[in-house]
Amino acid sequence: MKTSRRDFLKVGLLGSAVLLAGSSLSALSLVKPSKNDLQHFSFLNSADTQLLLALAPIILKANYPGMLGKEAEQRLLISIDNQISSLGQHSQKQLQQLFDLLGSSTLRYFAGAPTIDWSLASNDQIESFLEGWKNSMFALKRTGYAALCKLITMSWYTQPENFSQASYPGPPKIYPPQE
């Protein structure tokens, strides 16, 4: 599935955003993932991780990085990668299109996202992108916004270190079942 992920841009979910751009896909330059980062994840490439790590502090605000500190980035990404890897083919394709769109500076221009590298985008730029998609008249953008928020918050609040941010005391202690 990995090898063909760029092909998915030709069809489907974000097709309309691409049509909006009014150019042929082959002419667009896409961010090339660096091979070094790929080995850790089965789905996410380095451009995807850059995007997610830029969004996390805006979506999670004061809760990020919280008690996880330096581990926060890696824990979040591992959890998101596992989450996406378990999805059915259709949902994975949709997410691939979403990440590919947001990984291309040219497509970002037409999609109302900052064209600067995600890692360099200001908080205001990211916030205005999120609000724009949340309030969009296009269902595809609204669904894209919801998907990004879900992936990040779900993966964040499953980490036991973050339970206190949800005023959750945690589950009862369990002692190993007797044989």
Binding site: Q83, G88, K134, T143, T158, P172, P177
Partner: protein, 535 residues
């Protein structure tokens, strides 16, 4: 309600009993590439589990095939991340084609019964009457079904639950203030600790899921359980299933190169709505009217949050114990959508999704979860002409796509449901109420809610819509224009296939479906035994 600090002294039925363990096989470890039996059951949820016990007790050599893993008591850690990964379809991330509805469905030995919230209702009579009238379902009216409800209620210890937590008390108190009738929910539990983690696999064996009841019983009666085996297709020749082609899945749910062919004279499909119809499509099963996967219903469910001054601790205690059907049949069986009111538990990860949105407001809402209550309205789809539900199709790799177009009829029901829930929440003393909507704000009185609420636009991905009940896709009835299985749940166009699960429901049920599946399957499997014994 007392919060339980620790759990001790629980044994795992699958490690305690060697006699049942020896009947279970991880598909990866099966030494041969073929396996045979008197009867094959595909799926081990409410339908498969119930069938397996009845058929094995009758002396048939039963083979259960399950795509998911065998996870048992010792694996149930009350941890959302682990539970969603181990026990749910698509890591609890299954959804409809346009992303409008999220679907929670089980994927493990025992199926959704391992992760449901234990609510057990009889099929409402208006639903059964509607099936008889519209789909020509025979032998399933209320009086026909009563003995089967009774039998399964006894088998699974189903009775009304009275240990009501704060989250459920809000529904009860609000209804009382407004003179809206409410009732206690019957649950399938035995010696329940009132922990609140039904959705993550019961760590105390109290929930009478298929995993700890019918499946071990079937295994003791000589049945075999083949797990981590995904059924790719049914091999069909001359209107008969001649084999069931399976692929072994590794521990990461990936397909391996190991292919297994299972053979038996009779096959029962109990893979649940969505996956069952998808298997029939992959198998090119005969379907002259092109009905496979059509009329798939989800009980689309919407939510309303309420913050209280007092602690609600929505993490703990039986997740569902109070309900109201006041708005369910008000307009008759057809007509504007009716809905059932219940509450969901609020563990952090799932709540973070349900609250929607991002940034400081989301962080603030998360920090107040302990003082937050949520109510849900489960909408009864499939009864009106304007409610045709979803259709299941296949993606390139054969996995299912669920296309559920959300229309004005559905949004009309959704809007009325939000108003009902907010009114009850304020009546129960809520300080602030917010509909689970991307643009839903917090309101501090029902009057301001009504006014502000009308400004909200209801459309795909604006409203949080979920589903924990998948039904239909292979409907039952003699009306072949719509139906694929007859009133005995035998497939109309194949000689040796029966469908024993929720996919045979011609509409949604109007209530949490597990007992409806248990009772219908108990009846059908008992009749099948009689039929096979006559031959």
């Amino acid at each position: 309600m007392k919060i339980v600090p620790e759990i001790r002294g629980i044994s795992d039925p699958y490690s305690a009993k060697k006699s049942i363990v020896k009947q279970t096989i991880n598909a990866n470890q099966l030494e041969t590439d073929d396996i045979s039996a008197d009867i094959i059951i595909i799926g081990t949820g409410a339908g498969g589990g119930t069938s397996a016990e009845i058929l094995a007790q009758a002396g048939l050599k039963v083979l259960m095939i399950e795509e998911g893993p065998l996870k048992t008591t010792r694996d149930f850690k009350m941890d959302e991340q682990k539970a969603y990964a181990d026990l749910y379809q698509e890591n609890a991330g299954r959804g409809t084609k346009d992303g409008g509805i999220g679907i929670l469905q089980g994927r493990c030995v025992g199926g959704t019964t391992v992760v449901n919230w234990t609510s057990s209702f009889r099929t409402p009579s208006p639903t059964l009457d509607y099936w008889q009238k519209t789909f020509q379902v025979k032998g399933c009216n209320h009086s026909d079904m009563v003995p089967w409800f009774e039998q399964m209620e006894k088998r699974l210890n189903i009775m009304p639950w009275h240990g009501v937590n704060e989250n459920n008390s809000v529904l009860k108190e609000g209804c009382e203030k407004l003179n809206i009738p409410w009732k206690a929910i019957p649950r399938n539990v035995k010696g329940c600790w009132n922990l609140g983690y039904c959705g993550m696999g019961c760590p105390t064996n109290a929930k009478q899921s298929m995993l700890v009841t019918t499946i071990p019983d079937a295994l003791e009666h000589g049945a075999t359980l083949l797990y981590q085996a995904r059924v790719e297709r049914l091999l069909i020749k001359n209107n008969k299933i001649t084999g069931v082609e399976c692929i072994a899945l590794d521990d990461k749910k990936h397909k391996t190169s190991k292919k297994i062919i299972a053979k038996a004279p009779y096959v029962i499909l109990a893979a649940g709505a969505i996956n069952g119809p998808a298997l029939m499509l992959r198998s090119n099963a005969p379907d002259p009217n092109k009905r496979i996967g059509k009329r798939t219903f989800l009980h689309p469910t919407v939510f309303s949050f309420a913050q209280f001054d007092k602690e609600i601790s929505p993490f703990y205690g039986a997740p569902q114990s109070i309900y109201s059907d006041h708005f369910q049949w008000k307009n008759g069986t057809t007509g504007p959508l009716g809905y059932k009111l219940e509450v969901p538990p609020l563990h952090p990860a799932i709540s973070s999704i349900m609250l929607m949105g991002h940034g400081s407001s989301h962080v603030d809402e998360m920090s107040k979860l302990n003082n937050t209550h949520a109510m849900l309205a489960l909408l009864r789809d499939g009864f009106d002409d304007d409610s045709i539900g979803a259709s299941v199709t296949l993606s390139d790799n054969g996995s299912p796509i669920v296309d559920y177009p959300m229309n004005d009829y559905l949004f009309d029901g959704i809007k009325r449901a939000y108003l009902s829930m907010a009114e009850i929440q304020f009546a129960a003393g809520a300080k602030r109420v917010r509909p689970a909507h991307q643009h839903g704000e917090w309101f501090d009185s029902y009057e301001s809610f009504k006014e502000g609420f009308h400004k909200l636009e209801h459309k795909v991905s604006n409203n949080l819509v979920g589903s924990a009940h998948v039904m239909g896709g292979l409907p039952m009835g003699e009306n072949k224009e719509f139906c694929l299985v007859d009133s005995n749940c035998k497939y109309h166009y194949l000689d040796n296939l029966w469908v024993f699960d929720g996919s045979v429901f011609p509409t949604s049920i109007g209530t949490n479906p597990q007992l409806s599946i248990y009772a219908l399957v108990c009846k059908q499997a008992t009749n099948l035994v009689k039929k096979l014994q006559e031959n």
